[in-house]
């Protein structure tokens, strides 16, 4: 009884601190509303060309794996939402760097503040800000290509999982950014390449064989593809059994990424510290 009350108190404290950071971030983001809103449209510009090109391909009854003229809307709309969530990788580094230049980073670092609060505080704030365009696209897709309510819920949970993985990558990139901007630019470039090779905007089958080999060892590809297949197949049990490898990568990434990110944050911060103050 006493033990469980202690745990509840601790959990409430964690939630309060995490939400405090998220709240502060949202208020700061809304200081410049237009910039925040315009960020929603950047993925639309990126996805516009693939829509045109894939539309042309599918007019000629060409199939790329499971994707054809009837279902490629799933591919495109989920691609948009992934691009939207991809912004989370840059969100934490950008904000930690801002904190560094504003000289508020020491206040955050010396606060009795677990790094998980930092990770999930940023995660919640960005998810809240992205939720509007995210759900507009998701509901539109639901209307255009309906699925069961259960599949819809699972897809949303999978998206949340992907967002956690992206935030975790962002946290590691963030601590590297405040410690050494030079290395962080190289990592940003590498991450850009990893995302290019994860089939966000073009199907796997469209790429030449050598790049397909590269994509096959890219876990981000499996995260994204599993969401698309879940929607397309509209039967989570079938999808899990049929694409068990995908499923294992998705689940392990969602569990391991935040833990690994916090360990790496602490190690890198301990080793390199931060320039500034």
């Amino acid at each position: 009884m006493k033990f469980s009350k202690l745990n509840i108190d601790k959990f409430q404290r964690i939630i309060r601190k995490t939400l405090a950071l998220a709240e502060k971030q949202i208020y700061m983001q809304f200081r410049f509303k237009y910039r925040t809103l315009l960020n929603y449209f950047a993925p639309v510009i990126t996805i516009l060309m693939p829509i045109i090109i894939l539309g042309r391909f599918f007019q000629n009854n060409v199939n790329f794996g499971p994707w054809n003229s009837q279902n490629y809307i799933i591919f495109i709309f989920i691609g948009y939402n992934i691009l939207l969530l991809r912004g989370m990788i840059n969100y934490i580094p950008a904000h930690l760097q801002q904190e560094q230049y504003w000289k508020t980073l020491p206040a955050l670092i010396i606060a009795p503040f677990n790094r998980y609060y930092l990770l999930f505080g940023y995660f919640i704030s960005e998810v809240s800000l992205l939720s509007l365009p995210f759900f507009v696209f998701l509901i539109t897709l639901f209307i255009l290509y309906p699925i069961s309510f259960m599949t819809l819920i699972i897809v949303i949970i999978l998206f949340i999982g992907v967002a956690i993985v992206f935030s975790a990558i962002g946290l590691v990139l963030g601590v590297i950014t405040v410690a050494n901007e030079n290395i962080s630019s190289v990592l940003t470039f590498i991450i850009g390449f990893i995302f290019w090779a994860s089939c966000i905007t073009y199907p796997f089958q469209l790429f030449p064989g050598i790049i397909q080999n590269l994509i096959s060892i890219n876990p981000i590809y499996y995260l994204i593809n599993f969401i698309r297949l879940t929607w397309l197949e509209n039967n989570i049990f079938f999808t899990v059994v049929e694409h068990f490898g995908h499923f294992v990568i998705v689940i392990s990434s969602i569990i391991i990424a935040p833990i690994l990110a916090v360990i790496m944050f602490n190690l890198i911060y301990k080793k390199l510290g931060t320039s500034g103050y």
């Binding site: 020491p106 206040a107 510290g273």
Partner: protein, 303 residues
């Protein structure tokens, strides 16, 4: 009594370009007791900020360690964090949100109970109450510094680390801030180049240069060490030159200089006062005053 801060052989080495290294802190051993207000003084690049950064867990020492309120900074940084607060001038506050949102954020992460009421009280005390719902970017420098102090008062740590808390402030605001800090029953480590505020606020001083604590102690003790005699100011309207010549010849006067409206002299010993008075009796003096060493004088003598 155990010290609330104890540093043991604390050293920090930075790597520079071309494989060069610089020792920012060199085996610093310092003890600070509960309730003490310690002025940490040193020229630019002496190691003050590095010292504060290590004690506040912002950076790791290369060797050595520190104990803060019973917790080792290396092994228990999270427990150390609950005991400390850091203020760096008007920084460490968010300019893009309001003063109230700033304080609310810090109150929540430091788990301050009844923070709404406390924010109101502190804002009123620091005369910020009318500005709490304005964006901080619209505040003057003085108001930003006051908000920074409000943050410290709100989180109410056991130990305050203050780095240049009055930088860029006018005299009334500086005095106001000193008064607020002076009344606090807290341990304070103050780094500042403004000797007057260090003198007014601190009861103990540590002088740091080239990464080493070169002298520490209470002001009186340091004066006894560094004052080679008793400095006396004499104001005289007539026969100043004659008195100057006379005093310069006496063996119990170590130094004598002409200044505006009078002379300053350094008496060898307190016992020589009688001999001095007998000399001065035949002159019309408007003022005679013993001069104490200021912290600035001590700083210049020590560093």
């Amino acid at each position: 009594m155990d010290p609330i801060i104890k540093t043991v052989n604390l050293s920090k080495e930075y790597r520079l370009k071309h494989h060069q290294r610089i020792l920012a802190l060199n085996n610093v051993n310092l003890e600070v007791y509960k309730g003490e207000k310690l002025g940490l003084l040193g020229p630019n690049g002496a190691g003050k900020t590095t010292f504060v950064s290590i004690l506040t867990t912002l950076i790791q020492p290369t060797t050595g360690y520190a104990i803060i309120n019973g917790y080792n900074i290396l092994n228990d940084p999270n427990k150390v964090k609950k005991n400390i607060g850091l203020m760096f001038g008007s920084e460490m506050i968010y300019y893009r949100i309001t003063g109230y949102r700033n304080l609310k954020f810090f109150a929540k992460i430091y788990e301050v109970p009844d923070y709404e009421q406390k924010i109101k009280e502190i804002a009123r005390m620091l005369e910020l109450d009318k500005w709490m719902n304005e964006y901080v970017e619209r505040y003057s420098t003085g108001m930003k510094t006051k908000l920074s102090i409000a943050r410290m008062l709100l989180i109410d740590p056991n130990i305050f680390f203050l780095d240049e808390p009055t930088l860029g402030l006018d005299v009334p605001t500086t005095n106001f801030i000193i008064e607020q800090l002076k009344d606090l029953d807290k341990t304070i480590i103050l780094c500042s180049h403004d000797m007057s505020i260090v003198d007014k606020l601190c009861d103990r001083f540590a002088f740091i240069n080239h990464g080493k604590i070169i002298k520490e102690g209470k002001k009186k003790d340091l004066e006894n060490v560094f004052q080679k005699g008793i400095e006396i100011l004499i104001e005289i309207t007539r026969n100043r030159l004659e008195l100057f010549n006379k005093l310069s010849m006496l063996d119990f006067i170590l130094e004598c200089h002409e200044v505006k409206d009078g002379l300053t002299l350094i008496l060898k010993d307190r016992d020589d006062y009688k001999k001095l008075i007998s000399v001065l009796q035949s002159y019309e003096l408007t003022k005679i005053e013993e001069q104490a060493l200021s912290i600035e004088d001590l700083f210049l003598k020590i560093i």
